[in-house]
């Protein structure tokens, strides 16, 4: 064992880790925003909106993330006609994929709010979009906070998959280093420790939110 390999290459590894964090953060924000629209679509009165959002969600939920990443890596240049780079192609794939999972969580949150609130809000003269934005969604988000935090941990773990198309995030940086330094034991265990610390913090937060049932 020779742990100095980690200290020597710390800047390189941290660059990868910061890319992982950026990818995860952008995915969380964008897919959660998209998920709100899909979740509202899932409970819409118009049948075609309801059906198309249900198809979208089930289509993505029955495919593995790695396959979706491959799909978009192939499709995005084909559809846009230009090379967009690994980061954007992965980001689009992640946002589309995780929006399906976030949408299911948000939907269960919306359904936990209760239809009386919607009726009351509409009767005070608020429009349907206003009702959703000002009355229903804030409560829905609070009710499903633990599940949202857990899903964010899954997003962070999912960023490792970006390595398969060559994005230099944390796992990929680690792999590149093992190839150069031939120190797989130290490097992989260090990577495991880093992921563990971040994800454990996230899942502990989720558990605490659940236990207390607190309103953030």
């Amino acid at each position: 064992m020779d742990w100095s390999v980690i200290i020597d290459n710390l800047p390189f590894l941290m660059k990868g880790l910061s890319l992982s964090f950026q990818l995860a953060a952008l995915t969380m924000v964008l897919s959660l925003s998209l998920a709100c629209f899909i979740a509202i679509g899932r409970i819409s009165h118009r049948r075609w909106i309801r059906y198309s959002s249900a198809i979208f969600v089930n289509l993505l939920r029955s495919n593995p993330l790695i396959l979706i990443v491959f799909w978009f890596f192939f499709l995005v240049p084909l559809l846009t006609g230009k090379h967009v780079g690994e980061f954007w192609s992965v980001l689009i794939a992640f946002v589309v994929f995780f929006s399906a999972y976030f949408a299911e969580i948000v939907r269960s949150g919306i359904q936990s709010v209760g239809s009386n609130q919607i009726k009351a809000a509409l009767s005070t003269g608020l429009s349907y979009p206003q009702t959703m934005r000002l009355i229903v969604l804030p409560q829905a988000m609070r009710n499903v906070m633990p599940a949202l935090v857990t899903e964010c941990v899954i997003v962070f773990q999912g960023t490792t998959i970006a390595y398969v198309i060559g994005l230099r995030e944390f796992l990929h940086s680690t792999i590149l280093l093992t190839e150069r330094t031939v120190r797989p034991v130290e490097l992989y265990l260090f990577a495991a420790l880093v992921y563990f610390v971040v994800c454990f913090a996230g899942s502990t937060l989720a558990r605490r939110l659940e236990k207390k049932g607190i309103r953030v």
Binding site: N63, P64, Y195
Partner: protein, 237 residues
């Protein structure tokens, strides 16, 4: 978008054979890993509910460890790190085995999923009314017997939805094993795409496999859930 579809390449050799082998590998790997994960998950889940403080702490540490490290990294650790930590003779005989990637994938997938099963096992067991356990021990059943005859059959039926969703998780996660060289269906699709540049046709094979399997498992499990439901407990139609 300019794209000429040519679905016939999927029927041509060597692609056709590769697809069949890929399907077999995916199914074998996920079924075996599912069985292992269920057995191990039930064991760990029971540890977390036991009276011994040591077993409880061990069970919780196990669950936290395997849940909080990305599966992809776990696969790499089993593939690249674990053999190096074995004694030299063991390492050599491990490397000499056939199909090391498949075995590694099996270990990695099972352990990762067993932690999730253990977690669900706990919520399954917590849903058992306490009176039922008291009644079991008052009829003279030992602790092991109570588990064997009362707790596990009960918890198992309550857990059917969770167990089936774990199968689907393992089934989809098996795609990650392409990174350590297992020739499962996503790997096959990627190989066909790289070979022929027919991405849409190639990836459709994998996507259709996952979607068809998901749909059949969902339908079968909802039937099973109805057939095995505990009278008066799970919502009836």
């Amino acid at each position: 978008m300019n794209y000429d579809f040519d679905w016939s390449i999927l029927w041509e050799e060597p692609h056709r054979n590769r697809i069949i082998e890929g399907l077999q590998t995916t199914l074998q790997l996920s079924l075996l890993a599912w069985v292992l994960a269920l057995s191990l998950g039930i064991l760990i889940g029971s540890m977390r509910m036991s009276n011994s403080r040591f077993l409880r702490i061990f069970g919780s540490a196990y669950v936290e460890l395997f849940r909080n490290i990305p599966l992809l990294l776990q696969l790499f650790i089993w593939f690249f790190v674990f053999p190096l930590l074995l004694p030299r003779d063991w390492m050599l005989s491990w490397n000499r085995m056939d199909n090391v990637p498949f075995l590694t994938a099996l270990i990695g997938l099972s352990l990762f999923t067993s932690a999730r099963v253990a977690e669900q096992m706990r919520s399954g067991i917590s849903s058992i009314p306490k009176g039922l356990l008291d009644a079991a021990s008052s009829t003279g059943l030992s602790n092991v017997q109570t588990y064997r005859y009362i707790v596990i059959p009960y918890a198992f039926r309550v857990m059917i939805p969770a167990i089936s969703s774990e199968f689907l998780t393992i089934f989809k996660n098996s795609a990650l094993t392409l990174t350590i060289g297992v020739a499962e269906i996503t790997n096959t699709s990627r190989a066909i795409e790289a070979w022929s540049f027919r991405g849409i046709e190639a990836y459709s094979v994998a996507s259709l496999t996952y979607m068809a399997t998901t749909a059949s498992v969902v339908i079968f499990m909802s039937w099973l859930e109805q057939a095995l439901r505990i009278p008066g407990l799970i919502g009836r139609r």
